[in-house]
């Protein structure tokens, strides 16, 4: 049952993604992206990744949408360039897709409990983390302790983004006006 649900959700995601790319009203496009994020959060719930779903909903449907609307308010709402079909990008994309499909042939089947990812490394997190860390949410155990250093890196990435936005948009008067004054 969950598999069927998954396929339906994924198909919706493809439709919404196509709409987001196709629409030339950027505001509508951004709304589509919000829907896209909510849909992907739903698929993550179906796939048992509740923490990821929570984050995707907060980030994709929340932060990203707010930022994009903010950007639209500061720039423009309409895309000028008409949709054009350029050959080279299309070729690149088709080749990338074909290579990936070729790679799926030897992949473990979806949900297979004997796939390598479930046999190596992960069993320790599942079996021993309640004893070693003592908290029920394994994702938190792995995130903050076993791979806590990655999370320090992640915090640094967010810090970097904050510094970057301050550098680009914070405080001082922008260049355009300085030029206008001359």
């Amino acid at each position: 049952m969950t598999e069927l649900l998954n396929v339906v959700l994924l198909t919706f995601m493809v439709i919404v993604a196509l709409a987001a790319v196709w629409l030339r009203n950027l505001f509508a496009s951004v709304m589509m992206m919000g829907i896209f994020s909510v849909l992907s959060a739903c698929t993550f719930v179906v796939l048992d990744a509740v923490d990821v779903a929570f984050t995707e909903a907060a980030v994709g449907a929340g932060i990203s949408t707010v930022l994009m609307i903010g950007t639209l308010a500061l720039t423009t709402r309409d895309e000028k360039t008409p949709v054009r079909w350029s050959v080279l990008p299309l070729m690149v994309v088709l080749i990338t897709g074909a290579v990936l499909v070729y790679g799926t042939k030897d992949m473990p089947r979806y949900g297979d409990p004997s796939a390598p990812v479930h046999e190596h490394v992960a069993p320790r997190y599942i079996n021993d983390s309640p004893a070693e860390i003592g908290i029920p949410n394994m994702v938190t155990s792995v995130l903050a302790s076993y791979r806590g250093y990655d999370t320090l890196g992640e915090t640094t990435v967010i810090f970097t983004a904050g510094i970057g936005v301050l550098l680009l948009l914070g405080g001082y008067r922008n260049r355009k006006r300085q030029e206008d004054e001359f």
Binding site: D51, A58, E132, G134, I135, E154, T155, A161
Partner: protein, 140 residues
């Protein structure tokens, strides 16, 4: 929206609840879904709502940009500092076992502090980014 009664009243009612929910997510991450990152985003959302209803200038009085900027740095320092403490206590970097008298308590304490660091930085960065974008619009 500054002069409309209904949004203002509703916001007054909602903002404390959002903040409370943020705190819940922050400290309940050990047991259910959630943690520092999600809590930080929710916390920031409360300030964004405040700024939308009462205006950016009012919001900047509540969350002073200089303070928020310091908090951006502080969160990373809390996280990285936890690791330094475990170094000083004779463990490897980010080894929480040495933080308390026994490993399990150490792990609990370590995860709690580290998640707090994540939460502080994420909330502060999100508020900073929102202020930067909104402030850009205001000056136009």
């Amino acid at each position: 929206m500054r002069n409309q009664m209904i949004p203002r009243v509703i916001a007054k009612f909602f903002i404390p609840m959002i903040l409370l929910f943020g705190l819940y997510v922050q400290f309940h991450g050990d047991f259910g879904p959630g943690g520092g990152f999600q809590a930080g985003v929710i916390f920031a959302a409360a300030f964004v709502l405040y700024a939308l209803i009462y205006g950016l200038d009012e919001a900047k009085k509540v969350a002073r940009p200089a303070v928020v900027e310091a908090l951006v740095a502080l969160g990373v320092l809390i996280y990285a500092g936890t690791g330094v403490v475990s170094l000083l206590k004779g463990g490897k970097y980010l080894d929480y076992n040495v933080l308390a008298h026994d490993p399990i308590h150490g792990q609990h304490l370590g995860i709690l502090i580290v998640e707090l660091g994540v939460g502080v930085t994420v909330a502060a960065v999100m508020i900073t980014i929102f202020f930067a974008f909104a402030g850009r619009g205001q000056s136009e």
